[in-house]
Amino acid sequence: MSDIPEGFRYTDSHEWVKDLGNSEYMMGLTAYAQEQMGEIVMVEFPGMLDFNSGEILGSLEAVKTAEDFYAPFDCKVVRINEGLEDEPALINENPYDKGWLVVVKTDDPSGFNSLKSAEEYTEFIGE
């Protein structure tokens, strides 16, 4: 059974989102999703731009497969995890901490609040 920490919010496309305060939110890939993908070997970020909800924020290349990850709500990317450039497997090793993907900013918290809770996400993935 995958680790799904309380206190985070979750998307249907298997990102976790954490409220950092100051209208900033950290995002990453859930433990469940990285297990499904296998060893991630490359991460691609379009950059510090504005994104509409559902737009592609970046791509993850694993040994056998590739997946995009998406803006969970309208937001602007303000930080990207540059450590993943050299060590993309951090996403596999530590998906909720060192393997974070981006920090985004939004003034409207309603998008965040409507994401799934840990309990809802657990049910969603059927574990």
Binding site: E39, M42, E44, D68
Partner: protein, 365 residues
Amino acid sequence: MDKKTALHDKHVNLGARMESFAGHIMPIKYTTVKEEHNAVRNGVGIFDLSHMGEFRVKGKDASRFLDYILTNDSDVEPGKAYYSTMCYPDGGIVDDLIVYRLSEDEYLIIVNASNIEKDWAWVNNHTAGYSIDLTNESDETALVAIQGPDAEKVAQKLTDENLKKMDYYTHTSGVFAGKKALIARTGYTGEDGFEIYIVSEDAEAVWDAVMEAGAKFDIKPVGLGARDTLRLEVGYLLYGNDMDHTTTPIEAKLGWVVKLKTDKDFIGREVMARQKQEKPARYIVGLEVLGKGFPRHGAELFEGDRKVGVVTSGSLAPALGHGVCLAFVEKGFHKTGTELEAEVRGKRIPVKTVKLPFYKDGSRK
């Protein structure tokens, strides 16, 4: 039902990720593909390749038989090995394989695991008129490979054969780790290395001995994941990905294993001779990815709106830090330096044709 190799329990105990591959349950990786890849490039790694197939061809017509069913020339000295394709009459490739000449009238052929049954049927269908004995020893034979710049130092601890005197693509029958073995200086990694063929009963003892002898060199077990990135980085083709029954050796730039310069007849000769003269309509090329990401098998290649090819293998090259691919492209787009675009999930990624191998610093002799 997938077959287990004689080393199955070793892999499980090492915590390997096991997956089904070519009818066998095989270790994909033990730690990470990157770490295992780097161990072989910079030190030494050990592989279980017991899924590969072994056919023995023995008899007074062995050489003549192999000359007919294989594209390369069987006329090598005993103790030497050669790489070859085996083709259909239309030039399509049945399989690619390694042949060890054991003596004047005896050869051992190593075929891809995914093709064992097909190849066995094919060779048996062509024995009429040849005085030979064929045996399929695939299930009874284990193969442990030791690959990397430190491979000789590790292997030498386990045999009295003078490995320093063995050239690349030679082999010898001897004792290895106390067991009767065929010791071959061959591999699929671009590095120096050995492939040790033993009976399955001896596999665990040989594996343990190699791990122990390699401890000082920080030897790492290496799975099929890194085997794939290692071979791609040096531009080695993989049957089923980069070539199959729809491609000929000439298109796959394997003309060097087709004995058109001799007057020997072999299956597919006519088609290949014509293709060599007229030049094929497409070629396999190496592509360096100029952007981020990497196209994979099946990704289409474009120049502007025109589709000019398809990617056959693609991966991040761990030793180079960027994506690399093998691809079939139309004649005219195959020249080194041609810039194309690969379509990946709706996006275009710039790529450029480059000379193979991608990775040029291998320790292979």
